[in-house]
Assembly symmetry: C2
Homo-oligomer: 427 residues x 2
């Protein structure tokens, strides 16, 4: 029954029951963790063959000895393979080191301090620089902005992706808005896939935004489907090409959740003009990426078909964890009015919205019984969720039985917070 | 005979002879290259066992699964091993990604924009920031300064290291001097090793310099000896500890010239306070370094003794190349007055000084006959060698026969430029 329809007496009875369950959980001294968007051991073990795969052959196809310096843009065959993940031409794709976050940071730092088209274009020439941040979103994106002094404007995520009406209005009105963060497929944390219309409207933003506006297209979960029927993403590069907005687009990806987390390779795609400029910036910081690891990845993942099979094996491992979370939420909270959640078809997260004002409380209640959740607010700029409602659940890393125990405990905490809240309101 | 003692007639005769040799070389269509401080194929092959060394065991000593995220400061056993290279305690040593240049760039960027001890300490709060650059030195150090708008002050390298009288005077006089670049053992390009007195005086600079002064101690060739009798380097960390200047010191190193160039691991050591601050900066740019590659390196290099044996094998490969260069220079140019050069006992370079004003000419003459040399001036801030005299020779990468051909051609170019110059002066 919906919580709003319960009488004070009924709420009190339920509270007693939930409090008992909560106390019982406390006795168990749980130590569970749903905070981390990390692959589990079985997942990373899928790529154990990486070490040793070179079998003494350290030469790339064009004869490059990957054991030596050189090649800031990455190995040719790595560019060819990973451009297929981003749906970009190889010549518009760089393959770098182990972290796409580094590539994103460098891109923004470069645009800010040096300028995408030379010093006069540096965002930093303005006193204020602003970025659009679809929320809930990825905390590390927001941390980069905060660190570099970029003002963040939250825009809501809809079922189709970010609210494009609002975004178009904002970029038209305010030329100090220089960027938009996007996780277009299996968004962090909502799990949504941007609709074709949304992608097309984002590709056109460069036509209506002020100078040197960029879309930070973090396609971190490009191939990370849980089900075969997962929506595909319209390739934005071709649309940008069509609209002449190639210079407004930076795409990112990595193999951190394909092979080894933090020991894979990251990639970046943009216009050839942008890449040429960025390369000069990167050349000051490094002599080049680890080409040996790039060659390992190329030999291991081989081609889009092998990569797809590999991702199917990942899905088989983590799908039960997602289903455990979603089935429990459905069984325990459907039509209860105590929360709403996403049902992702890929990616690494389930996004849960409590009744307004209860997210922090739920996280605290869970912590008190040994269940760590991502801090409430983390999915918003400046860690401020104005409704105090969003909680990111990450079910991939713990064992299935721990996911089960954790989500059951989570549900008790949601019920406890919700019922107490309603009782207070009614009394 | 010394060039100054030759008559015009003698010079003219020699010129004819050298011009003939030069023309003959031109006919050969050489394609030789002494520009690159890169290990050769035989050297990198010494580490071929790296790939596959894990044999499916991806767990660190403390149980950390290196295939997953985490650990910004590097793997414990990697910190233990590489702290031995820098002569630092493991807890004061970070192990990072594949590039020490990245660590250096990040350190300076951090001190400049955020401050080693919080925002009020940021160098960027001053309109001008200056660095001391011992010359000849490493072009990539200078490029970082130039890129970040740091004014460079050249100080001469002496046989004992940088001119400390001058450095001490400068840092006392000018509080805007915030740093000093050092390659303390087998300097790039002179090959010299800083004397104990120099190291001690550098360790004390923090006591006389203005606020937040740092020594950038790039110990890139810490273990890269060519001969067993090579001078050792006094460990600067212990001196800084003694003088209370630990916060003024940042040390760097990497395995790029130990295992694979650009596919090894880099490391950084400083005070624990500095590391804690730097870590917060790095956390925004990356989730952590490639621990899989760190574990490979630990399993492969194992301990200081194994590492030393490995370096002996390197020396055996490149020593003949150095000896070829040095023997040729000695045989052809000793007491000629046409040049002076270093005789390094380790490292990657030979530093050659032409007669004043002739370095650019020699490089150009060499280029015209197919011998690429590092651009004259590259070893100076802003690429400006005030005497136009220094040329960096890098004999490690080409095959021995190519080194031989290249250095013979180089000698001809030096003779040609020198004789022409003397003739012009005398006529």
């Amino acid at each position: 029954m919906h919580i709003d329809q319960l009488s004070v007496a009924e709420l009190s009875t339920q509270l007693d029951s939930v409090l008992k369950q909560y106390s019982a959980l406390k006795e168990l001294n749980l130590a569970l963790d749903l905070t981390r968007g990390k692959p589990c051991s079985e997942q990373v073990a899928l790529s154990d063959a990486l070490d040793g795969i070179l079998q003494g052959n350290y030469l790339a196809e064009n004869g490059t000895d990957v054991r030596n310096y050189g090649g800031l843009e990455g190995l040719a065959e790595a560019r060819a393979l990973f451009s297929r993940v981003l749906n970009t031409p190889p010549e518009e794709t760089f393959v770098g080191g182990n972290s796409s976050l580094t590539l994103m940071y460098n891109t923004i730092d470069f645009a800010l301090t040096e300028g995408l088209s030379g010093p006069p274009s540096a965002w930093g020439n303005n006193d204020t620089v602003k970025f659009l941040c679809p929320t809930p979103g990825y905390d590390r994106h927001f941390a980069i902005c905060e660190h570099l002094g970029i003002e963040m404007i939250a825009v809501p995520m809809l079922g189709t992706g970010p609210d494009m009406d609002r975004i178009e209005r904002l970029v038209k009105e305010d030329p100090l808005i220089k960027g938009l963060w996007c996780v277009p497929r299996f968004s962090n944390p909502t799990g949504g896939v941007y609709s074709d219309e949304t992608v097309e409207r984002i590709a056109r933003l460069g036509l209506i935004a002020g100078d040197h506006f960029i879309v930070m297209w973090d396609n971190a979960y490009a191939v990370h489907t849980l089900y075969d029927d997962a929506s595909s993403l319209m390739p934005i590069r071709d649309l940008c090409y069509k609209y002449g907005t190639m210079d407004n687009l930076f795409q990112f990806g990595s193999t951190s959740k394909i092979t080894f987390a933090g020991a894979g390779v990251a990639f970046l795609a943009s216009s050839e003009e942008n890449l040429t400029a960025l390369k000069q910036h990167l050349a000051l910081q490094t002599i080049g990426p680890d080409k040996v690891n790039q060659l390992r990845h190329v030999r291991f993942l081989a081609n889009p078909e092998t990569l797809a099979e590999h991702m199917t094996a990942h899905a088989a491992i983590i799908r039960p964890r997602f289903e455990c979370v979603l089935n429990t939420l459905k069984y325990e909270l459907s039509n209860s009015g105590m929360g709403a959640w996403s049902s992702p078809r890929g990616g690494y997260f389930v996004s849960f919205n409590t009744m307004p004002g209860l997210a922090k409380k739920v996280v605290k209640l869970a912590e008190s019984i040994g269940v760590k959740l991502t801090p409430a607010g983390a999915t918003f700029p400046y860690s401020e969720d104005p409704q105090d409602t969003n909680i990111r659940l990450s079910p991939t890393f713990p064992h299935l039985e721990d996911v089960k125990a954790a989500i059951n405990a989570f549900v008790i905490c949601v019920k406890l917070a919700s019922i107490e809240h309603c009782l207070q309101r009614k009394r």
